[in-house]
Amino acid sequence: MTNRILAKRELAPQITLLEVEAPRIQKRWKAGQFIIIRPLAGSERIPLTIVDSSAERQSITMVIQAIGKTTKEAVAMEPGQALCDLVGPLGEPATINTGQEVVCMAGGVGVAELLPVAKAFHEAGSRVTALCGARSDSYRILDEELMGVADVLQWATDDGTYGFAGNVVQLLLSIAGPGTFTEGHVIGPIPMMKAAAEATRGWGLKLHASVNPVMIDGTGMCGGCRVTVGEEVKFACVDGPEFDAHLVDFDELTRRNRAYREMEQEALKHDCHIGLG
């Protein structure tokens, strides 16, 4: 049965992996693409990155950080249940070049989203340095999987409980400078992506950022996901989600992503009242 949850695993507090049966998407997806799900019939549509797939099990894997109503609904589901809706693969695949010195940077749940990109670079014959960030040692995810695809893997934790003490961008600056890398990919919280872009401006590094605006349809129909890239307005769900990190207007993205904050909180509380939250 399509959309059925085959496996569920908690990777870290609030971060859950779901493996879902999706034969068509499994066959067609490429690194950097995403899906939209509605866990339940009454749910919002939310975008999630495709992290992995299995041809044998006809499945795809997603890793979800439960931060709001819909993500909580999703991680509350159990194997055997089916997601109400699952559509994809959406967006353009990530830019994957061969023979590059690549730095892949991610923080938080972005580490999971980074995995397929790092893997694709690796398989394309680029040398991959993965720099991953977590709040603390116990929040590190997919360490083993990343080890299998990165030539170098380094962790940064905010509290210094594992690896470099500090954030990913500080880690980057401690090991690299102009010319160290020819290409890069960054994915994670907006402040981190912005800092990575600022830090590497003028390095001659082609840095791709995978952005995460609020989306609805994911098919280019509503324009809600628009992002300013250089002089142009782009629809992240069809033109992206990957753009040139040095051209993305991250401040605008931050403001647009906050648009519904109070309302989302209201929605979360609202459901708690009737015991669904």
Partner: protein, 476 residues
């Protein structure tokens, strides 16, 4: 029901019956349907206004060729179900068309009665027949023969595909409709508001196709989830593309990405498809502030404005031409006016200004005057120098038109397009063999009934092509 004589004496002089409406003040606060529909008494009077012409011009003018004369005769005879049966010969969507079809441009425009009096209210009669057949539709559910013929795929579930599905399933084709969104109906589901088209009506008319054996697959984006080539490999022998014109145009003015600035598609999708009017009982919110400005003059603009009004916002439609040039259905313009939507004609936005948090707060507008007629024959608006002025605003909706959805075209370079629109020949066939197209993806923004006309034409062409290919004809 008292038996009526089958023949009546036409009385075209009787005043055209006015469609009863919910009180304007009440309706500007609820998502309930605005038009209530004729009473049986009104149906009787209105049906008897029809002359039962020997050469009913109305039937030719209806792009679906519904036998209007005959269904009106049945209504006049109080045979409401019979009227629905007559309509069903050509269309399974009288509930939809009776509400949103631009009948003033088609059937009613050519009604003979209009030569001397007001035309017969064909649209409202059609709607009545539909509304009174709803219960029986459920009873009929199990009684349709299931198709066994060749497989065909229809892409998109808007009106173009829906009518094609009806025609093809009746010709015994196994029809699959692929829809990108999680709900069926295209613009009927995400664009047109509930207060103009209650969703039960749409769902029930689509359910009838389901009962007839049409398979609907939601969450399936042709070009992404599977390509056209893959569909052919999976055994579909012909494909119709009815993907619509969903790509919104942007205004291209400074401040367009401020919070509170929407395209009509996003605004309407949040409210109609995701039911933001029920938030927080529904999960997707929408921001409607105290002052809403809707830019544009078409159906989308009216719909967005009337929703904004229903959220309690002071609402203005800003249009760069005059009232006479509005492109929306006249009825919708009048309803918007009655509901208290303010119209500001001959004005256009030039910039938007926000506060420190990036929320839109002010719109700068410029006055326009009508200059020389352009290519389309309409007088084009020209900005009046130095006439800029600012208005406070916290919600802006750009309803300035849409281009064809590009997803499928982007991954199918063999499909020839012209400015984004898929190019077809006289039979609705695209540049790819056995791939047909119609509706908004071919016409750009158009109307429900013209999309249906295209879907019907394509279904016919598909049937002809598939019947010729192999000699054993598919039986109707």
């Amino acid at each position: 029901m008292a038996a009526q004589p089958p023949k009546y004496k036409p009385n075209p002089k009787a005043p055209r019956q006015a469609l009863p409406l919910l009180n304007a003040e009440v309706r500007s606060r609820t998502p309930e349907e605005v038009a209530l529909g004729f009473t049986p008494e009104q149906v009787s009077v209105e049906a008897q206004r029809c002359l039962q012409c020997a050469k009913p011009t109305c039937v030719d003018a209806c792009p679906l060729h519904i036998d209007i004369k005959r269904f009106i005769a049945r209504l006049a005879d109080n045979d409401w179900q019979g009227a629905h049966d007559v309509i069903s010969e050509q269309s399974p969507f009288p509930g939809v068309c009776g509400r949103v079809c631009q009948h003033e441009l088609f059937c009613e425009d050519s009604c003979i009665v209009a030569k001397k009096w007001d035309p017969v209210a064909i649209g409202s009669l059609e709607r009545f027949a539909a509304d009174h057949a709803r219960l029986r539709m459920k009873e009929l559910a199990g009684s349709y023969p299931q198709p066994t013929g060749k497989k065909v795929a229809l892409v998109g579930s808007g009106p173009a595909s829906l009518i094609a599905a009806y025609d093809l399933v009746r010709l015994n084709y196994q029809v699959t409709v692929f829809e990108a969104l999680h709900k069926l109906g295209g613009v009927l589901a995400y664009g047109i508001p509930n207060f103009r088209l209650p969703r039960e009506i749409l769902h029930e008319e689509i359910a009838r196709l389901q009962n007839m054996g049409v398979e609907f697959v939601v969450d399936f984006i042709v070009g992404k989830t599977a390509t056209l080539e893959e569909l052919f490999e999976e055994g579909y022998e012909a494909i119709f593309i009815g993907t619509g014109a969903g790509l919104p145009y942007m205004m291209g003015i400074p401040g367009e990405n401020l919070v509170g600035v929407y395209t009509a598609n996003e605004f309407l999708t949040r409210i109609n498809l995701m039911e933001a009017f029920k938030f927080p009982d529904s999960p997707t919110p929408v921001r409607v502030g105290k002052h809403s400005v809707i830019v544009g003059g078409g159906n989308s603009a009216m719909d967005a404005a009337r929703w904004a009004k229903r959220f309690g916002s002071e609402t203005t439609i800003l249009y760069r031409r005059g009232r006479a040039e509005l492109k929306a259905r006249l009825e919708e313009v009048e309803h918007a006016e009655e509901e208290g939507v303010h119209f500001e004609f001959l004005s256009a936005p030039v910039a938007l200004y926000g506060d420190e948090n990036g929320y839109v707060r002010e719109m700068e507008c410029i006055r326009m005057e009508l200059g020389e007629p352009d290519d389309s024959g309409r007088r084009s608006p020209v900005p009046v120098k130095g006439s800029e002025y600012r208005i406070p605003v916290d919600t802006v909706v750009a309803a300035i038109g849409q281009a064809p959805n590009p997803t499928l075209q982007k991954v199918t370079p063999q499909l020839i397009t012209k400015r984004g629109k898929i190019v077809i020949d006289d039979h609705g066939q695209t540049s790819m063999p056995l791939v047909y197209a119609g509706g908004d993806v071919v016409r750009g923004g158009s109307t429900v009934i013209l999309a249906m006309k295209d879907g019907r034409a394509a279904a016919k062409a598909m049937h002809e092509a598939l019947s010729v290919e192999k000699p054993e004809e598919v039986e109707a």
